[in-house]
Symmetry: C2
């Protein structure tokens, strides 16, 4: 957790309490250009960060889940650079950036903790480019499913709308749907509930 290593005393230094919030799918957390005054840590759920193309279509540039930090770029003083929207119902901790800055002054450990978050965000971005924006449509969909499963129990995952999946992968809704349907037919994934899938991980890896 982000604030591991902080003392009781450190927390007392915050005048403003930390809010705990629950957002439903589709909820709008913040928009690109908003002044970044809040930081969020994700306790559960899934959030997309998007940017919009001139023609209005979106491209999702990052997916954030449990233990990820939302709005981290605002620490360096700038506005939010993306629009953040909930994909799977999310529990967030919200706290004012001013408090975080204040804590950083008191506690060196927090620097290292934040550094680790930056690092992880960047590694994820690399992986994104490498696994989700390279190769054929099938490879990309498979890699996304494996990525989601990895963050879950390793064998199953919850997906989201085909349109959003397409926006993650740089594919159209139709292509995404076709690939998903094809994977179902081949028995490599099986739907256990609406948007819940069990994966044949070995089979999927072999077919990629």
């Amino acid at each position: 957790m982000l604030f591991a290593g902080l003392t009781e005393e450190d927390f007392d230094a915050l005048h403003r309490p930390i809010d705990q919030l629950t957002y439903p799918p589709g909820a709008h957390i913040y928009s690109a250009g908003d002044p970044g005054e809040m930081l969020y840590t994700i306790r559960s759920g899934l959030v997309k960060l998007t940017r919009y193309l001139p023609d209005g279509t979106q491209r999702i540039v990052r997916l954030l889940g449990t233990t990820d930090v939302l709005g981290i770029e605002a620490i360096v003083g700038s506005d939010f650079e993306h629009t953040a929207i909930v994909l799977h119902e999310a529990e967030l901790c919200r706290l004012p950036l001013a408090s975080v800055r204040q804590l950083m002054r008191r506690n060196e450990h927090l620097y290292n903790e934040l550094m680790a978050r930056w690092h992880r965000a960047l590694s994820d971005a690399d992986r994104w480019i490498f696994e989700l924006s390279t190769g054929g449509a099938r490879d990309r969909v498979v890699n996304l499913l494996l990525w989601l499963a990895e963050r879950n129990d390793g064998r199953s995952c919850q997906v989201f709308g085909r349109e959003d999946m397409g926006a993650v992968l740089g594919l159209t809704t139709e292509t995404t749907s076709r690939v998903m349907a094809e994977l179902k037919r081949q028995g490599l994934i099986s739907e256990t509930g609406p948007n819940y899938f069990d994966l044949d991980v070995d089979g999927l890896k072999r077919s990629g």
Copy 2:
């Protein structure tokens, strides 16, 4: 510069001097998996960070130029995650990570400076996904040219081999070559020397 704000005294604390190195195009700076013991800041030139696909082909996940920091991920203790190879002759400052860690303890400002670098790296990664991995071949090439020009004088740029350009954009060598040739024919770019181009920036933006 990364070490702005450091005192003479801080530098004296380093037993090991900072090396200044010049690498020619094609030079290998480090490999994925190597223990990350050195940090490099780029004074000039261009460096690619690559990862390799199972079939041996590469995908370039980042391009680093003047003022960028190379090997920043090693600060959090891990090995290098990429292979770093020079594209345009590069002047680098090399210094041991141990020294950087030592400096960080003495100088809080360095934390903020590093934070800013992480931030920039992440913004670049987003932009990469958004501009260089989305849309048609022509759009991608144009965006790459504009990106390179932006880091130069805004109106011209130096490119590199078509194969590397393709690896940046997720395109084949042939497609990249075709698009470049087409842009030349349309007078949107003109070759002033081997791999040097003047850009018709407005025309390019309009055509994207």
